[in-house]
């Protein structure tokens, strides 16, 4: 088997599965194979893994891709016509294709050892992707103003700027400046403390069937929350959890809509909030600490066990500094949280608010007015 062709196959297969595998990774893999080529298959697999797979949540793809690449690289088929067909198959993007042996064909002599691309059942096809409407830039602009207020309201980390404070630390420059008016005689010690200004956010968006009517708002909110601060992690969930932070790392609204539409396959399915939060704690728990604010955007309709939800929220609550729950129904007059999920969650939530708080200033003030008390001892960053 040609090692170079094999590496290229693996790289292509990984790219098809939305992994960022560049030419430099392929070159590293080729070089690594030179060193472990004389060893067995496990070492070759490890060489591919350490050079090409740099996201532990995607390690499960290795076996599948490895087998497929071996099959493709050793098939030795004609590159010409069939190569073009395969290229077309890949251009189809979301549609999966499978290589099916044409051995059953009557013209076995002519078709000997040849394979054709044909469509067949794939579990990938049953997942829910959705064509999303364009994001309204005007509403995004309004939302940004609210987001600036929200950042100040939720910030748990001290920033660089100071304000006068009786309990703060001694401010030498200010003290000296005030002494100038009294012939350099120190009459008063000035104190100041840092303003809480830095924010780290982890957001969980419920994109299950019960949130279908809010899809447009959810997409806007994903965009806005990602831009709330430099340190933001965004997850989407329904029956499973999906990290989508990298999908939102562009300022182009249309590109974001396209990415969310093509790459998220959880739209409109059931909801298991508890098990999704548990997955987060197990897999990404070390990403957050008490300086982080967790925002859950969900209507609270949960098909999972309330006990699992309770345990997961308890785990999340101790791990982050603040827990905010935004429920789109909470904007409605006379709304009362009645769902089991919501009733289970409320004791752990610091702020419970309506979804419109992200875009409507008056709603933001109504819900966030005095609902968040700053931490008694703010978290001091090291500059």
């Amino acid at each position: 088997m040609d090692a170079y062709r094999f590496v290229v196959e693996v790289a292509n297969l990984l790219r098809e599965r939305q992994l960022k595998v560049g030419v430099s990774e392929s070159l590293d893999a080729c070089q690594a194979l030179c060193y472990v080529g004389s060893y067995g298959l496990p070492e070759i697999k490890t060489a591919i893994k350490v050079t090409m797979l740099k996201d532990p949540s995607k390690f499960y793809l290795l076996d599948e891709v490895f087998q497929q690449a071996i099959a493709e690289a050793s098939s030795g088929r004609d590159e010409g016509e069939e190569g073009d067909q395969r290229g077309e198959g890949r251009d189809r993007g979301a549609q999966s294709y499978s290589t099916v042996s044409a051995a059953k064909d009557q013209n076995r002599d002519q078709q000997h050892d040849r394979t054709v691309d044909a469509f067949m059942y794939s579990p990938m096809e049953t997942l829910h992707k959705r064509s999303l409407r364009p994001i309204d830039p005007l509403r995004v602009r309004t939302g940004r103003r609210v987001m600036r207020r929200m950042k100040r309201r939720l910030a748990l980390l001290e920033g660089r700027r100071y304000r006068r404070s009786t309990k703060g630390e001694l401010d030498f420059p200010k003290t000296m400046r005030s002494a100038l008016g009294t012939a350099a005689e120190l009459m008063e010690l000035k104190k100041s403390s840092r303003i809480l200004a830095r924010l780290r956010v982890v957001a969980f968006f419920d994109i299950s069937g019960s949130m279908d009517t809010y899809t447009e708002w959810i997409v806007r909110a994903m965009y806005l929350i990602k831009r709330l601060s430099r340190r933001v992690e965004v997850f989407a969930f329904s029956t499973r959890l999906l990290r989508i932070t990298d999908l939102l790392e562009t300022t182009n609204l249309d590109e974001i809509r396209k990415r969310l539409s093509e790459r998220i396959d959880l739209w409109g399915s059931g909801t298991r909030i508890g098990s999704c939060l548990r997955t987060f704690l197990e897999r990404y728990g070390t990403l957050v600490d008490r300086s982080w604010v967790a925002i859950i955007i969900s209507d609270g309709w949960d098909t999972g066990e309330p006990e699992v939800l309770r345990e997961s929220l308890e785990g999340l609550k101790v791990r982050v500094g603040k827990l905010v729950w935004l429920n789109p129904h909470a904007d409605k007059p006379n709304f009362k949280p009645m769902t089991v999920g919501m009733l289970t969650a409320l004791p752990y939530v610091d702020v419970f608010a309506g979804a419109s708080t992200l875009e409507d200033m008056s709603s933001f003030i109504r819900f966030f007015g005095k609902s968040i008390k700053p931490l008694k001892s703010p978290i001091k960053p090291v500059f």
Partner: protein, 303 residues
């Protein structure tokens, strides 16, 4: 197992010899980790090891330096780490003293070239690694890179590509022997794609039960086998609980086993568990959440 003193030469290096050498130095590595280390040494590419705290990420760099008989140069990262802490800094107090001593001399240029020479340079880890002049390449450990700012990560991209440092007053210093670089991260934040692209990547997680038992037997001499099994079972139980904030790593299990040896415990009972649980649980909230009785009853059900 006694560690052999003979360092492994790069010519003799194979995956098998690496596994053997690691085990001789009491580091139980699986074949995958040994392959990753082997490739990092052969390809001279930095190896980024990510994973849970206390799973032996830092230790592997220390042991590797020992195996190769070379120097370990360690850069501990933290928020706010900048180039002066990582590369070099001028020794200002000494420079001032020296200027004071030379006050009577007139030649300013001569003084300047003297005070901005290597004599007055405080070499920080990255410059030390670049200027290292030994028969074997040094092992450069950049520990907990996730704690450093993104700006520093950006600087590392350039450093790891060129292995050179430019000091305006002296010039560009290039490495003679490219160091073997190991970066570790506890995943408190995601490392940028650029840096990941320049590194080989290995993810360590908590070891399976059998491997952890092997580590205990190897590292804690004279530990009762039943007790070792009980400790590993409890640690695994704690790791599986989502409400435990700081999950115990292998280092905590080892601390716990050592504590058991010191208190002379033969088995895990209620009193011993209650008094030594602080070795594995490092948060008051987690301690409050744990019910020792239910832990013990689950343990007895596991046999």
């Amino acid at each position: 197992m006694a560690a052999s003193n003979r360092p492994l030469s790069l010519q003799d290096l194979t995956i098998e010899s690496l596994i053997k050498a690691l085990e001789e130095r009491l580091y139980v590595a699986d074949r995958e980790l040994a392959t990753a280390l082997f490739l990092a040494i052969q390809m001279r590419k930095p190896l980024l090891i990510e994973g849970e705290p206390g799973c032996g990420k830092t230790e592997v760099a220390k042991v590797l330096a020992e195996i190769l008989g070379t120097t370990l140069i360690r850069l501990q990262c933290y928020e706010g780490l900048d180039a002066s802490d990582a590369i070099y800094e001028w020794d200002y107090p000494r420079q001032l003293l020296y200027i004071k001593m030379l006050e009577t001399r007139k030649d300013v240029h001569e003084i300047e070239s003297e005070i901005f020479s290597e004599r007055f340079l405080l070499k920080r880890p990255l410059l030390k690694a670049v200027m290292y002049d030994g028969p074997m390449p040094p092992v450069l450990l950049i520990d907990e890179i996730d704690r450093a700012d993104e700006e520093f990560e950006g600087f590392l991209l350039e450093f790891l590509a060129e292995y050179q440092v430019t000091i305006p007053e002296i010039g560009t210093v290039r490495t003679k022997t490219e160091p073997i670089v190991i970066l570790t991260s506890n995943r408190t934040r995601e490392i940028g794609d650029g840096l990941k692209r320049r590194c080989l990547y290995y993810y360590v997680t908590y070891p399976p039960r059998d491997k952890e038992l092997r580590i205990l037997k190897l590292k804690v001499k004279g530990l009762n086998e039943t007790l070792a099994e009980q400790l590993v079972n409890v640690v695994n139980m704690l790791r599986s609980r989502p409400d435990i904030m700081k999950k115990p790593g292998i280092s905590e299990t080892l601390d716990w086993a050592n504590a058991m040896m010191r208190v002379g415990a033969k088995e895990l009972n209620k009193d011993v568990l209650r008094s030594t649980l602080i070795c594995v649980i490092k948060s008051q909230d987690d301690l409050m959440r744990l019910d020792v009785d239910s832990l013990l009853s689950t343990l007895s059900r596991m046999g």
